[in-house]
């Protein structure tokens, strides 16, 4: 027997001795003799008698052996000596390990797991910026590559600055306790008004510069990082719809306002203890507006702002004939477009499962089903779009298949935490077809030029995702026994709760009626002040030189793309 095996056997014996002694002492103290085990009937297994409680004292803990220093010095190739009682932090070295120390360690381990989970998921979402950048750039013409890439690059910094200065406190400054992240007590001041006899939360008030009112706090930092990358996702959606003709300075100002005000206000209403979240508690509408990871908060806000901007900026020169017939203006690199779609699909595993804000406690173990729902809906979306395009136009269009994948992912973002896998596939499949129909509607009926399909992928399918919660939520989720302060699980119309659908529709109406209007007016003012659109000469030349001062591909000779009419 090796030395390590001897140590293990000794530890086991001592542990059994401790438990047995404790058990006997406990039963003696409580005046209860240990009950003899009941004889089980021959045919039917009886339930095992409940074990009496075994009190553990600080004294018991002292007899738990720790690995010897000389053994640890020899290394630990199988990990058997690492992570033992000796790794538990002791608050008082003189007294040694106590029950309190153990309880604190368990609590910290739970929060540590949740911190790491949320942070890593946030890092994945941050990487989605790269996916958006190459998708949008690939779908634009080569003469605008530098400009499109630079917008996607700088939107990260512009958005983060706006969110740190203004947006975060507005969004999360009144959210109250985030139990999975240790309670986050400093972000607890929501500004409310009285309306229809109820308190309506409008915006948060704590957290300016991550320093104000005690928000220099470990839990608040995790919340900030995760919410910041979500906000930046919404911002980068907009750059696609206005690509190839958006003045760079206008992009900076517009993105700042979106990150500082538009996004945070709606996000507060939905996620920050605002009035939409409280539709259930205040008006009995299901569990209130439920948007698990942001089909509405992130994607519809981005998509509807993209629509407002695309209307204001107007279509690219050559996009429509004089009779209003659309011309196809193909992107310059389908390879990076589909590569970007994969990057986004990868990042979505941070987006949706990460929205549990933890992997331990309060139903967070649903991360597995959330991840599976996410991948299934993306798959169904790409199939839906590919089949639609194949049947309608005779070819399985690559860029629309990519948009179908993204549409499925956008649509499942809100319901991912509340639905089962079959519903996920249905939601994704509908999203894949919807994105194709929406692209055609936006282009042919509205005559709005959206070079990357951002309005359809994120706006239309974000709304579909929000509605689908009200239809498909199966009432099986359990995130700590309640959602938005209402006891029970989010349950949609098909599973018996029509009022949840009403809450979702009010959310959609808020997106269309409030968020769009706010974004439109803001961008209208920017248009009047600095101008949203570049001059015709710069647009025809390509924005790389006039706006950025350098070509995206300086060694290539760019030729005008052949324009196909009536796509």
């Amino acid at each position: 027997m090796s030395h390590l095996e001897k140590l293990g056997a000794t530890m086991n014996r001592r542990f059994l001795t401790v438990v047995t002694t404790t058990f006997v002492l406990a039963t003696a103290l409580l005046g209860q003799a240990p009950a003899p085990p009941a004889a089980a009937p021959a045919a039917t297994p009886a339930a095992a008698p409940a074990a009496p409680p075994v009190p553990i004292t600080d004294a018991d803990l002292k007899s738990i052996p720790a690995p010897k220093a000389e053994d640890r010095a020899k290394g630990d190739p199988d990990g058997g000596l690492t992570g033992t009682v000796s790794d538990v932090t002791v608050s008082d070295a003189k007294k040694g390990l106590s029950i309190g120390d153990l309880a604190n360690q368990v609590g910290q381990n739970k929060i540590a797991i949740n911190f790491v989970w949320t942070l890593v998921c946030g890092f994945l979402v941050m990487f989605m910026q790269a996916g958006f950048a190459v998708v949008e750039t690939g779908l634009c013409r080569a003469k605008n590559a530098n400009h499109t890439m630079m917008m996607n690059f700088m939107v990260y910094g512009v958005g983060m600055l706006a969110f740190w200065l203004i947006g975060f406190p507005l969004q999360m400054g009144g959210v109250g306790a985030v139990a999975n992240l240790g309670g986050t007590p400093p972000i607890n001041a929501e500004y409310t008004i009285q309306l229809f006899g109820k308190a309506w939360g409008l915006w948060g008030q704590n957290g300016y510069f991550l320093f104000h009112n005690g928000t220099y706090d470990v839990g608040v930092m995790v919340v900030f990082l995760f919410q910041m990358v979500f906000m930046d996702t919404a911002l980068t959606i907009v750059t696609g719809s206005a690509a190839e003709r958006w003045k760079y300075v206008a992009f900076i100002v517009s993105s700042f306002v979106l990150g500082a005000f538009t996004y945070p206000i709606f996000a507060n209403w939905a996620w920050g203890n605002g009035w939409l979240a409280n539709l259930g508690a205040n008006y009995g509408l299901g569990k209130g507006y439920a948007d698990f990871a942001g089909s509405g908060v992130v994607h519809s806000v981005g998509g509807l702002t993209a629509l407002a901007l695309a209307i204001i900026v107007g279509p690219r020169i050559g996009k429509f004939t004089r009779s209003g017939k659309p011309n196809a203006m193909p992107g310059h690199d389908i390879v990076i477009v589909l590569t970007g779609c994969f990057i986004l699909a990868f990042g979505w595993f941070g987006f949706n499962p990460g929205s549990t804000l933890g992997a331990s406690g309060n139903g967070a173990l649903r991360i597995g089903s959330i991840a599976v729902n996410t991948m299934l809906a993306g798959m169904a979306g790409s199939f839906g779009a590919m089949l639609y395009m194949w049947l309608r136009y005779g070819k399985p269009d690559a860029s629309m298949s990519g948009n179908g994948l993204l549409a499925g992912l956008v649509a499942i973002t809100a319901p991912s935490g509340f639905v089962n896998p079959v519903s996920s596939v249905i939601i994704g499949l509908i999203a894949g077809v919807l994105v194709c129909l929406s692209v055609e509607f936006v282009e042919r009926v509205m005559k709005v030029d959206d070079p990357v399909g951002a309005i359809s992928v994120h706006g239309a399918n974000g709304i579909w995702g929000v509605i689908s919660v009200g239809l498909f939520a199966d009432g099986k989720s359990n995130y700590g026994g309640s959602w938005n302060g209402v006891t029970g699980s989010v349950t949609g119309l098909f599973y018996g709760d029509a009022s949840q659908l009403v809450a979702q529709l009010i959310g959609v109406s808020t997106l269309i009626g409030f968020v769009f209007t706010f974004s439109f007016v803001v961008n209208l003012v920017i248009d009047w002040v600095v101008g949203q659109r570049v001059g015709a000469k710069a647009e025809l030349e390509g924005l790389d030189l006039p706006e950025m001062g350098a070509l995206g591909y300086p060694e290539f000779e760019l030729k005008p793309a052949m324009v196909r009419s009536g796509s």
Binding site: F196, L279, Y283, L285, L307, I311, I312, G314, P315, I317, K319, F320, T321, R322, G324, V445, M446, K447, V448, A498, S499, L501, V502, L505, I506, V508, S509, T510, I512, G513, F514, F516, T517, F520, V521
Partner: protein, 60 residues
């Protein structure tokens, strides 16, 4: 037309909000919210966008 579009789009939102006080039944609220959404969509597609299409660059 542009201003009317902005007003109509925002009015649709207000109509939806009013559903919370105008009706206490789920069906009644749903109908009112749907009316609000239609008003907002009309404001965007039928008024705001049309106002911009009047002077669209491709018509010049």
């Amino acid at each position: 037309m542009l201003l009317a579009g902005i007003v109509a789009t925002f009015a649709g939102f207000l109509i939806s909000i009013l559903s919370l006080t105008l009706s206490s039944s789920v069906g009644g609220r749903m109908v009112i919210v749907l009316i609000g959404m239609i008003v907002s969509l009309f404001g965007i597609i039928g008024l705001i966008n049309k106002a911009y299409l009047k002077d669209a660059i491709w018509k010049k």
